[in-house]
């Protein structure tokens, strides 16, 4: 009786594992992040005409780029979050067949963001702003249409 129960349990576990395998078959989730997000709360301390680039760097770190524009010098802070997910329907076939062609749906979303700070000739903040950002994309979103 115990043997029958144990066998039934192992068959059930095997079927369960196979179901999970089939559900996940062909899924790929990739993510790449560059630097850390700078939030508006982190730059609340900036006072136009008072805060210098050196005070800014002391609080939120060195910028990724300093550039010269027609309106003055600029400090740029970059960060990005790239999310990519895919579903390959051919992967299920590859579990049982020697060859199964790829039937893949993929979607990748790259969201580069930046904080731009403009300075006057004394390196005091003249203006600052964040790049525009759409809503947060989900990590798994493979439908490309």
């Amino acid at each position: 009786m115990t043997n029958v129960a144990a066998r039934f349990l192992s068959i059930r576990s095997a079927i369960g594992a196979l179901c999970i395998l089939l559900l996940c078959a062909g899924c790929s989730v990739r993510r790449a992040t560059l630097n850390e997000i700078v939030t508006p709360e982190q730059v609340n301390f900036i006072r136009i005409g008072q805060t210098t680039i050196f005070e800014l760097a002391a609080k939120i770190g060195a910028p990724d780029e300093i550039a010269e524009s027609d309106f003055g010098s600029l400090a740029l802070y970059y960060w990005s979050d790239t999310k990519s997910a895919g579903l390959d329907f051919g992967a299920i076939g590859r579990l049982f067949l020697p060859y199964s062609p790829s039937m893949r749906l993929n979607k990748t979303g790259i969201t580069p963001e930046q904080l731009q700070v403009m300075f006057d000739p004394q390196w005091t903040v003249r203006a600052y702003g964040f790049s525009r950002k759409s809503s947060d994309e989900p990590v798994i979103w493979f439908w490309p249409f």
Binding site: A6, R30, R31, T33, L34, E36, P63, K83, P121, V139
Partner: protein, 130 residues
């Protein structure tokens, strides 16, 4: 005892399958900064030539507010991945360190800005969450 044998076998196969798909990648651009070389830069004293001899030639020379600025950078990326037969997870974390040395018109260091982020770069596999 007999029941344990297939269980051990299954666990071994599972471990082998998991380990087989493990990929660990590390990529860097440039050289990490030496803190002592940065702290050796004295504002109002250290010359452009001394900065170049202690840290090296800059990666970029920027002109800002009529001043020469040396920009040095270092990138560090860590990327673990799990590439199984049916399921793939991969995550990459890249961070950068930046060093700026501001010079006056006489080529003397006026200010130093240094930001270190790469010590917070981590091997993170799970692609979900922050």
């Amino acid at each position: 005892m007999l029941l344990n044998r297939p269980l051990i076998g299954m666990i071994l196969v599972l471990i082998l399958v998991i380990l087989e798909g493990c990929v660990v990648t590390r990529g860097t651009i440039g050289e990490p900064f030496k803190e002592e070389a940065i702290s050796a830069i004295k504002k109002g004293k250290t010359t452009m030539a001394e900065v170049v001899s202690s840290i090296g030639a800059p990666d970029r020379i920027v002109r800002g507010n009529d001043r020469e600025i040396f920009h040095y950078y270092y990138y560090d990326g860590k990327s673990p991945a799990l590439l199984l037969l049916v399921l793939n997870f991969a995550r990459m974390d890249i961070k950068s360190d930046n060093l700026y040395v501001f010079f006056n018109r006489d080529g003397i260091a006026e200010e130093v800005i240094y930001g270190n982020r790469t010590d917070r770069t981590r091997f993170r596999l799970w692609p979900f969450g922050d």
